[in-house]
């Protein structure tokens, strides 16, 4: 906790490169659902990098297979071929196509996955206590600090069902950060939120990112969200999923919502909107929009 407080003051524009971790490299990833011949090709020879200490956003139409990639990184699914590396160590690859889930890569889920029967603070302390990396006393101490830092003071002993969905997402991100993960995997986490809450959540996420510099891999179908948050935006083709266009977003960090009205933001939107739209049409024609 002390480290984080110091970070907040002086660390921006970035902690030294040597401290950065969470670099993901996806190499020639293929995922076929069903039989190897004639199954559904969800991910087609996909290769790209998620640089350490940055926010990488993957944009693609619903059902394009981007969640499949995220699940492969998290270790929920196997790949059919190819490899994924985390900080140059093999997560999954030939010989072991399914990664082990672990607290170095924590997923924040589309519809939220706080345990409804645990109070917020018990959710936050779940990771370290289960792993045995902290005593319960240490875990609660750290959790209280982290929740206070994230503006969650006062909801510690409430249940997730008693707080608003926006606050729930923040609790879930704090729960992930408690484990000091190398990378956060966010699977359209703000999809179900209304647009006002969403804008607050975006800034909250950036705020957390500036404080911790944790690598973020973010999946969305919302281009505006992608450009606003990302250092790098990867636009995916519709199924099978493959990078169609990689954009380095040159809007300076730290960003806040005023970035949305800048000329550069509009230019980037214009440049990419067509590419995303094309894929959306293809997806629609393939009858995949309902997924």
């Amino acid at each position: 906790m002390k480290m984080m407080a110091v970070d907040q003051g002086k660390a921006f524009p970035g902690t030294p490169r040597t401290l950065r971790r969470g670099h993901i490299r996806i190499e020639d990833a293929v995922k076929i659902y069903g039989p190897q011949n004639g199954g559904i090709l969800a991910v087609d020879h996909c290769t790209f990098d998620v640089p350490a200490g940055e926010i990488t956003v993957v944009v693609g139409p619903s059902g394009c297979g981007k969640t499949t990639l995220l699940n492969a990184i998290a270790g929920f699914h196997s790949l059919s071929a190819g490899a994924i590396y985390l900080d140059e160590e093999v997560l999954c690859g030939p010989g072991r196509l399914k990664a082990e889930p672990g607290p170095d890569r924590i997923v924040v889920f589309q519809n939220g996955a706080l345990f409804p029967w645990k109070t917020n603070i018990d959710n936050v302390t779940f990771g370290p206590i289960m792993q045995g990396t902290m005593t319960p006393a240490q875990a609660y101490e750290k959790a209280r600090h982290m929740m206070a830092d994230a503006g969650l003071r006062g909801v510690e002993n409430n249940y997730p069902g008693e707080i608003s969905s926006g606050v729930r997402r923040r609790v879930e991100i704090v729960r992930a950060l408690m484990n000091d993960p190398k990378i956060l995997l966010l699977d359209e986490p703000y999809r179900a939120l209304d647009s006002l809450t969403k804008s607050v959540m975006h800034e909250a996420l950036l705020d957390i990112f500036y404080r911790t510099r944790v690598t973020v891999f973010f999946i969305t179908h919302d281009l505006e969200e992608a450009i606003f948050l990302g250092h790098r935006v990867i636009i995916m083709t519709t199924r099978p999923c493959r990078p169609k266009k990689v954009l380095d977003i040159d809007i300076p960090h730290p960003r806040d919502y005023s970035a949305l009205t800048t000329k550069r933001f509009r230019e980037l939107m214009d440049e990419t909107a067509m590419a995303v739209h094309e894929e959306a049409i293809k997806a629609f024609e393939a009858g995949e929009m309902e997924r």
Partner: protein
Amino acid sequence: MTETEVTGLRTFQPAEAGTVATDTPNSWALSMYRTALWLKSPRPYLMLIGFGLFLGFWYLSVEVLKLPRFAEMPGPTEVIDEWLNQDPTYGLSIFIPEYYMHIWVSTRRIAIAFILATVTGVPLGLFLGWSQRFKQYVFPVFELLRPIPPLAWVPLAIVMFRGSETPVIFLTFLASFYATALNTMLGVQSIDVSLIRAASCLGAKRWQIFRHIVVPGALPFIFTGLQISVGVAWFSLVAGEMVSGQYGLGYVINTSYTMVRYPTIIIGMVTLGIVGYVTSAAIRAVGDYMMQWRTRELSLGRQ
């Protein structure tokens, strides 16, 4: 509105969001609040009217109009008179110790059977839901035995068990057991896979996931199962008591029929209704207590 104005201009300020705090009401205050709401709503009065209409219909059809097939039936005044009589005509009222003996014997059988069904049915259901392999072994047999009505087990129960007590408890146990195990299994299957994935992301081992995610996640279904279980337990208990035994409410009803003590039949039936309702409510209360999170969510009007 001020919040959007503020956050629209600057980066997110943790201090502002710190005000989401709410006072957590304790469960006593919550139940008082709900009781007060209930008394203000029309519900309790509609309920009283409902009871009134039921008794009125009974009274009219039996004692006033004396409808053809109702002539032999005891009317409400006769039953109440007998039930509350210090010296009942047919020997059973709230002043007779034997009455409580019958209630006690039935309740005891229910308790034993219900507890047995719970301690066997819940673990079985949990494993059925949790392990595909286990389910493949056990579930087909389970599904084949389940449709056999408890009454069809009567002869085997008498052959298998000694005395008159154990067969009755066995029959009562059977139906309860199926309801509990099946609902528990469905409860495990109803758990959002995201929760299990989240737990494994956070480093929980398999048995930790079982203990912290699967068991609490299945609890709402388990308690639904237990409610059904206690209901069908009374159902098959009475059937069992009619077949064998010297005490119990089912026995009271059956012997009163053969000995033409009609008001006593009704006393037995009403008592069954009341005792059954109380056991059901008790289980609901235990469930609410064990699932505080759910009670609190529901009290906020969320599903």
